[in-house]
């Protein structure tokens, strides 16, 4: 058991270092601005005094690496400074939106994961039949479509033509849960369509790969019934690739959410990021980027750790 703990800890440490490097990139990229943030925010027409005052207010007179450690220290406890445009605390702007985004991603994941895994396994078992071919073309089309295309198609049919669900997900405090589910159904469905396609293809590839391995052939040759081959021999070994597929796609979900939130005017962190980018509100941009990157790394890490834990060869080292 010691070996496996070591392996997991090593992986966690590596993830932490990656995150640290990314925080350096995110922070110092803003330093690359021609001039500095104060100049960029106020524009060319600003007087020298105004720029100096803003610089003082934002603490830009300190050297960059001191500010980096202050920023990082704040970020660890959830304090990302104040917005340049509105002067509010970044954490107050972001916290609620982040929860909304997590809700949307979780909503989509709860539908997509069981659906996609089941379909992926079925398609793998029925490979090279008509059903498989049709599924292949459909999933390929879904992957190849930009998220906003799928989103607007859903709006056109479900919201405008058939009037079943609202086109804009306006959330308000104290909404009942079923109401909330109905309001956010279309953005969740868009994410489900994209993620299901990815997941199905990956599951199919993983299962086909698995069924080609020698021990499955052995089981078949010794005369085990087909269902037993699947349940007793294939499934226990399929968990590792399936966990991997789930974690990778949840990571994908986190970024796919940005475009979907914009299409449905969903009050999430992706929308906040896009707004901040067009207003050049750097503290918010940095905070959102760091949060997205951290979530992404965390899920990738989960995929790796899951793969280690479910691999019997690693659990029982020689």
């Amino acid at each position: 058991m010691g070996d496996i703990l070591n392996l997991v800890l090593k992986r966690l440490g590596f993830g932490l270092i990656t995150l640290l490097v990314i925080s350096v990139i995110i922070f110092f990229m803003v330093e690359l601005l021609p001039g500095d943030i104060a100049q960029a925010v106020l524009g060319q027409g600003a007087t020298e005094e105004n720029v100096a005052a803003l610089r003082e207010q934002m603490g830009l007179n300190k050297p960059a690496f001191v500010r980096y450690f202050e920023w990082l220290g704040g970020a660890v406890v959830g304090d990302f400074g104040t917005s340049i445009v509105s002067g509010e605390r970044v954490s107050t702007i972001i916290t609620e939106r982040f929860i909304n985004t997590l809700f949307l991603a979780a909503y989509a994941a709860v539908i997509a994961v069981p659906f996609a895994i089941t379909l992926g396994v079925i398609v793998a078992l029925l490979r090279n039949t008509l059903f498989d071919r049709v599924a292949n073309v459909l999933t390929l089309t879904s992957i190849s479509s930009p998220e906003f295309f799928l989103g607007y198609i859903l709006i056109l049919y479900f919201a405008v033509k058939w009037q079943m669900f609202p086109a804009i997900s306006s959330l308000s405090a104290g909404m009942s849960f079923p109401d909330l589910l109905e309001r956010t159904f279309l953005p969740a469905l868009t994410l489900v369509l994209v993620v299901t396609a990815h997941m199905m293809r990956m599951t199919r590839a993983a299962i086909i790969n698995l069924l080609a391995s020698p021990y499955i052939e052995m089981a078949r040759l010794k005369g085990a019934p087909p269902w037993k081959v699947i349940v007793k021999h294939a499934l226990p070994n399929a968990w590792a690739p399936i966990i991997n597929v789930i974690a990778l796609n949840l990571a994908y979900l986190i970024t796919g959410v940005v475009l979907v939130e914009v299409v449905f005017v969903y009050p999430g962190i992706g929308q906040a990021l896009v707004d901040a980018v067009s207003k050049r509100d750097f503290p918010i941009v940095q905070a959102c980027c760091l949060i997205f990157a951290a979530t992404f790394i965390l899920l990738n890490l989960a995929a790796d750790v899951g793969a280690i834990l479910t691999n019997p060869r690693l659990r029982h080292p020689k």
Binding site: T18, V21, I22, I25, I26, M29, V30, L32, L33, R127, N128, L130, V137, L140, T141, I143, S144, S145, P146, E147, F148, F149, Y152, I153, I155, L156, A159, V160, K161, A167, I208, A212, A251, I254, T255, V258, L259, V262, L273, V274, A276, V277, S278, R280, F282, V285, Q286, C288, C289, F292, A293, F296, I297, N300
Partner: protein
């Protein structure tokens, strides 16, 4: 029972009888199950649902016909060696090639095909289609059809140049890392890992927020984001070639790194690299489309598919599908490239997936 419904079922049943008579099991099962499903569909959705099915099947048959004809055309005009390869291509691949060919024509001859200029205001905002404008006007009264044609040039051109930039950087670094090995290889590998662990759209947004949405910034940003993926593949592919005996022989002859890369490694790793280029293009195209949808791509008045969708999205709430056409154009090209790449991967790996 309208005439259409009677014709619909008659056609299906005759076709399934013919398939059964000629012992074609697959087509028969498809046609006959479609007939059975159509009974249910007809009862639930009425003639409208059946009409949708018929239209869908018609479009599919039309696409298949076009791809078949295009494949035969390619077989005839291509040189003998190539035409043998093309003959074995599945219909999806030749459909993909046909779509790519069409887009290339639209992009190259845009000024001659489009009836109006891309930023020429000729009508009032959101004017409906008339004999002058095939698809109506956009939010400023410009011809939508002309802008879609010009969009082929601008959107695809931008994505293509960004892909080429990413590919040149990534492939060069990958080849160098594979030939040189050692600390350079290690360093580049770690660097690629870090860049790949930032979500691509987020990284692009970060860079565009800092340097502003100029075209060259987009190209450089996309190149930085996607070069690591190319780097990894090139390094893996070239790594397999580097251990070959003929490389050893060339090294003993005293050839330099440049010669090794150019004359020995590159010719032996082109097939997977070309397929990777296609895949990479799809990713880049979707990323750039997403950026321009967010208003951070090619800036107006230049026509660009992603931003056209966003600008005309209001029309969708009136049940109009025209704003979806540029989005569908993006999806169609990506699907087409994927089809061709699938075929090329299949061919180069020589593996028959069983």
């Amino acid at each position: 029972m309208s005439v259409f419904v009677i014709l619909y079922f008659a056609a299906l049943i005759i076709a399934s009888c013919l398939a059964a008579f000629y012992q074609k099991r697959g087509p028969f099962m498809t046609l006959f199950s479609l007939t059975l499903i159509s009974f249910v569909l007809g009862i639930v959705g009425g003639a409208g649902a059946l009409r949708t099915v018929a239209t869908f099947a018609g479009v599919l048959a039309f696409a298949a016909g076009v791809s078949y004809a295009f494949r035969e055309f390619l077989v005839i005009i291509a040189p003998t060696k190539l035409s043998k390869e093309i003959k074995t291509a599945p219909l999806t691949a030749s459909f993909g090639m046909f779509v790519i060919f069409t887009y290339a024509i639209a992009a190259i001859f845009a000024p001659w095909i489009a009836p109006h200029g891309e930023s020429e205001v000729i009508s009032s905002a959101f004017a409906p289609p008339d004999e002058n404008m095939l698809l109506g006007a956009d939010q400023l009264g410009r011809d939508m059809f002309s802008r879609i044609i010009y969009g082929a040039r601008n959107s695809v051109g931008l994505a293509l140049s960004a892909t080429i930039a990413a590919f040149v950087i990534g492939a060069f670094a990958g080849l160098l890392a594979a030939t040189k090995g050692g600390w350079f290889d290690q360093f580049m590998g770690r660097f690629a890992d870090v860049i790949m662990s930032i979500p691509s759209l987020i990284f692009a947004l970060l860079m565009l927020s800092i340097f502003g949405p100029q075209i060259y910034v987009i190209i450089i940003a996309v190149a930085i984001i996607y070069a690591p993926r190319v780097f990894r593949l090139t390094r893996a592919v070239a790594g397999n070639v580097v251990v070959m005996d003929y490389i050893e022989a060339a090294k003993l002859r005293g050839e330099g790194t440049g010669y090794l890369i150019r004359r020995e490694i590159l010719p032996n790793s082109t097939a997977p690299l070309i397929a990777e280029f296609g895949l990479e293009f799809c990713f880049v195209f979707l990323l750039v489309a997403g950026l321009s949808f967010l208003g951070l791509g090619i800036q107006p008045p230049t026509a660009d598919w992603g931003s056209m969708v966003r600008e005309n999205a209001t029309l969708i709430s009136f049940g109009d599908y025209t704003p979806l056409i540029p989005a569908a154009a993006i999806a169609l090209l990506t699907v087409a490239v994927n089809f061709v790449v699938d075929w090329m991967l299949f061919r180069s790996s020589g593996l028959k997936e069983q």
